[in-house]
Symmetry: C2
Subunit: 430 residues, 2 copies
Amino acid sequence: MADIATRVWNHRWKIDPIVRSLIDTDFYKLLMCQSVFRNKRDTHVTFSLINRTKSVPLADLIDEGELREQLDHVRSLSLTRGESTWLRGNTFYGKRQMFRPDFMEWFETLRLPPYHLERKGDQYELTFEGAWPEVMLWEIPALAILMELRGRAILDRMKRFELEILYARAMTKLWEKIERLRPLENLRIADFGTRRRHSFLWQDWCVQAMVEGLGPRFTGTSNCLIAMRRDLEAVGTNAHELPMVYSALAEDDAALARAPYDVLADWHEEHDGNLRIILPDTYGTRGFLDRAPDWLAGWTGIRIDSGDPATGAETAIDWWRSRGEDPSTKLIIFSDGLDVEKIEELHRQFSGRVRVSFGWGTLLTNDFRGLVPDDALAPFSLVCKAVAADGKPTVKLSDNPEKAMGPEAEVARYKRVFGVGEQERMEVVV
Amino acid sequence: MADIATRVWNHRWKIDPIVRSLIDTDFYKLLMCQSVFRNKRDTHVTFSLINRTKSVPLADLIDEGELREQLDHVRSLSLTRGESTWLRGNTFYGKRQMFRPDFMEWFETLRLPPYHLERKGDQYELTFEGAWPEVMLWEIPALAILMELRGRAILDRMKRFELEILYARAMTKLWEKIERLRPLENLRIADFGTRRRHSFLWQDWCVQAMVEGLGPRFTGTSNCLIAMRRDLEAVGTNAHELPMVYSALAEDDAALARAPYDVLADWHEEHDGNLRIILPDTYGTRGFLDRAPDWLAGWTGIRIDSGDPATGAETAIDWWRSRGEDPSTKLIIFSDGLDVEKIEELHRQFSGRVRVSFGWGTLLTNDFRGLVPDDALAPFSLVCKAVAADGKPTVKLSDNPEKAMGPEAEVARYKRVFGVGEQERMEVVV
């Protein structure tokens, strides 16, 4: 405990790098990176930071020089021998050599490409441009750095002892959540909280708490570095950036309509078992499933990442039935804005009907709500997304219009192509 | 924080002395010791450990060898040069040279006398015999050792991570108490929790929390070592052992009736100001005050340490008025079994009418209630009292018959001599 408080306390005197390893990132980033490396390595993409919570004035809170120092530090990192050995030799989802030699050779020599940083009002414009497999690896460290620097800006005002109390309270808070999760039978839950974590040390502590409190019901962490160091499962599959970039690259409407399935066709070739998880919401879950080829219904499961999760799960169950699949053999992974109440509720509603799993993110690794005045450490909604591919803008619709992004005309075109009508707006907390 | 958890964790591999300094004791012990050294140094006394909470089987929980190691360690201690310098040079209650050279010379060469330890059923019989000024210094370390060894017996079963959670929770709990005390205007509160503390490190942390949370409203600690190290006021005045031993030494009933006042006459000669605090309950507060000489009404205040505290305070206020004193100039120190609710209540009731001060003991430094299964770390009522002086038994009546002690016939005699009738029984928690 004191380690964390002391480290936080010491931040004010010396640079304490926030991201210290290229594998301090989500496992699915590496899986996707390999897929992109194989299938679309020359695609030129732009990733951009987007702070959906405008009330958090990042540029006022975070010193630009400090931010540059942190980003520069990430650019100085390369894969260590031990990390490489782990990626090459470890078993992921029961499979050896998940990462192929050609990808590993490339990754071993990789340094992250330059960034572009500019202050715009009270926010930062932070973008990354270049080859997709390189640029995509910026997403998680960039988010983690911004989240942690914002946290440090608040923590810097606190006294040594206040920090100790803060962490004692945060620990107590998390432990009480874990104790509430304990009675849930057959619970399967993983840490998905790297990107918006309070800090690396805190995420690491949260993972330990999950291990201690939930034992085998804690199924792993998305963070490769923590998984490696603590000998845990590294978990995750794929994310919206794949269909977003594939779709942006589509030549016409017909190709656009096909793009999200092309992504999964590439994935299908590479992966099996628990890695075959559909992420259906990029352009509306219902339409995606209705038009999906039958082989997709044979996949292991689905991840629900926007919209009302219960509705999404029921939609998936109905869809499996309509395709002659037995939902009870299927896996549903809930991963959108979860906290204990929602986990309990979804577990109650779906446990037994399908195989249920939870990817617990921000409110696992960054729930400092209510612990400092003005709730200045509350997590907020920061993302870093592919906004363009080969010069064309990307679009995301999602099952919640609050999470939609892209130029207006393109959004309209995508809505038409994917047959997305009126959607229910839901507040995005994290 | 981790320091504590780590130290606790490490206990299982090596001896970690519980009491590491002769001034890791209550300040009033040293004040009383000096008074005894001056007035009654040849009195032969017996102190004995008494566990009022029979449901805590100390001899089952604590290994006898370990207990002996800890007690032996205390016998190996002598005053360090720094400690001596502090006692000689520091200002206590605004006064320099509180401890006189002859006392200091004696104290500097002191080693604590032998102890007698024997297992009796599931309890330990632990007694100390010898010259009063030497034996009396065993009380606080003996209690602290027993309390902490009992705690360690429970902590030893816990895993590293559970310990971290335990302390995070205990810290959160205490901090929430302190936050409740903050709004109390003109609060004056001190740490009286050495004897039944969870551990030295924990007491030290609690003191820091009080300093951080209450600032100057935290008026000091009874623990000399912590006061010295943290540059805080060492506080405390006198305790029941003085009237108990003086009374035991009384030749006849007339001398017995006079004894409690003789104590204070000796004290009166030595001390002024804030050290002139009456402790009236040894043989019943009402009778003591009714028969008190007028010069006692001129003393600074009174300490209420048994019975219903509000009743005791009202009795004192009435008494001051009856002696022509202005109660609003008088100090009432509440010190019996306090916790936040009681402090709030007494503060509300007496603040403004008198000067109020609180000596917060066990539930400041050892409130681990509700934090482990079976409440195995809840504090319990352990005392170490003078039971005989020059071969004659001591008696304590107190304002709560649950706290009374001494042979039955002697208790009856004392009740007669001091005119104590029916008393209200109150549960003794700590």
